[in-house]
Symmetry: C2
Subunit: 240 residues, 2 copies
DNA sequence: CGCATTTTTGATATAGGTCAAGAGGCGTGG
DNA sequence: CCACGCCTCTTGACCTATATCAAAAATGCG
């Protein structure tokens, strides 16, 4: 019955009415009445990095609200090569297409350990009928995904490799502490349309130039202004 | 009051109830009742190639159903270079973001002379409230745009220049007559993330190889199987 | 018919791909 | 606790695809 990967880990049944994320989440703005739509339980899952949330082509029976973590949406080309088309993080919704009775369009793979609420589509459909706010919220999610997709194209698939890497780092970095959590060079390549080697070379170069400072295995401190300069000016302004 | 470009051409007021495109268009499946939402008139415009439907950043007061023609959605990077993120054609909807009170995300520029119905957002919002079918139709438009955006990334921004051009041609070609209408090399480049020169070289090469046969200024006959081969196998299999 | 724009072509430079090897981590099992 | 093997990251050397710069051809427009 469950379609989660072997690494799945059921970690409870959600109580949406007392949800800590209630404000930022899909179901914000719902009243008593709409919760009557919840006939089947909404399960919460904890998934480790590497786990598969769903696979492209699977029947879309669930949507997922991401509570925390990071997920990549991967699409395959006829020749077998893969491309990461989007990242999803806290408060994003995965599997919107399920609402339209479509099969999933991507593989959804956990990049950083993630907690999700699994929403049966019938529930969301029911609520969508009852509640204009959710309805609007759904459209807004779609629009957000679309803007993200467009940005992915213009920012991360245009310009030199250095620019792309810089732009990716700027997207990933946490505004508060100027830090970011990097993932494998292979994934970076698949996001930017570069080879693993090129991604590696550029990250290494950024480290040497002090634009990135490694704090731990995957954690880095970013020189935001420096990266911004690179993101815009393609050409290197080596020393001045 | 109107926000269309100088080249605008008002060409009538739509009568949606007798619309010839009624079946395929956003408003399919509407009944008498919903048409009561149409308080202000829905105008039809004919726009020549080069005209601007709307500009990125403009206040989104209208959505547009495209009756015929071809429109490019253009996004600009900080450095001024541009990238075409999507094409819209007959039965597509431009300016969905207006429904969410957002400003337009792109410049929408006419590539091939186009007829559009201009829908004031209030009308669409009103109908969306009244009619679940339209509601679903809207979500489905968003999803379609999203799939298109993803495909743009995986098909048109990945692989060698030859592959990309081939894939673009396959996307553009009319299934019935194996023909396609090409546009400027500059636009092709902006769609594929290539320079104008590279786009030109490859089109020229395809012509020499007989994969494309020029029928008129912008019209070509395409060797579909040949192009498909190139779209998949990166490497050239020159002669066999 | 001549000017402006776009397309094509050429010559050259270079960014990034490819192939290959070494280095560093990490987990597993002895 | 150490050693081995696996995997990812890094680095090097080389090569090719595409960008770049430039000019000539073609096309369209007034």
């Amino acid at each position: 019955m469950k379609t989660l990967s072997p690494q799945e880990a059921w970690s409870g049944v959600a109580d949406c009415q007392t949800c800590t994320l209630r404000d930022s989440v899909l179901f914000s703005g719902l009243g008593e009445k709409e919760f009557e739509c919840i006939h089947s339980p909404i399960d919460i899952f904890s998934l480790p990095a590497g786990a598969l949330l769903y696979r492209a082509g699977d029947e879309g029976n669930f949507m997922y609200t991401i509570r925390s973590g990071l997920i990549k949406l991967v699409q395959y080309l006829p020749d077998g090569s893969q491309r990461i088309v989007r990242l999803l993080r806290g408060t994003d919704v995965a599997g919107l297409e399920a609402l339209l009775d479509q099969r999933y369009q991507h593989d959804a793979v956990i990049l950083q350990s993630t907690e999700v609420c699994r929403l049966p589509v019938e529930i969301v459909r029911c609520m969508d009928r009852e509640n204009p706010t959710l309805h609007r919220e759904l459209m807004s999610r779609w629009q957000r995904a679309l803007m993200e997709a467009d940005a992915w194209l213009t920012e991360l698939s245009t310009g030199s490799a250095r620019q792309r890497v810089a732009r990716l780092l700027l997207r990933l970095h946490n505004t508060e502490n100027e830090q970011c959590e990097l993932f494998s060079r292979e994934d970076m390549g698949a996001m930017l349309g570069l080879t693993t080697e090129t991604a590696s070379r550029i990250v290494a170069e950024f480290k040497r130039q002090g634009l990135l400072t490694q704090l731990s295995q995957t954690r880095y401190r970013c020189d935001i202004p420096g990266l911004e300069k690179i993101a815009e000016n393609g050409p290197v302004s080596s020393a001045d």
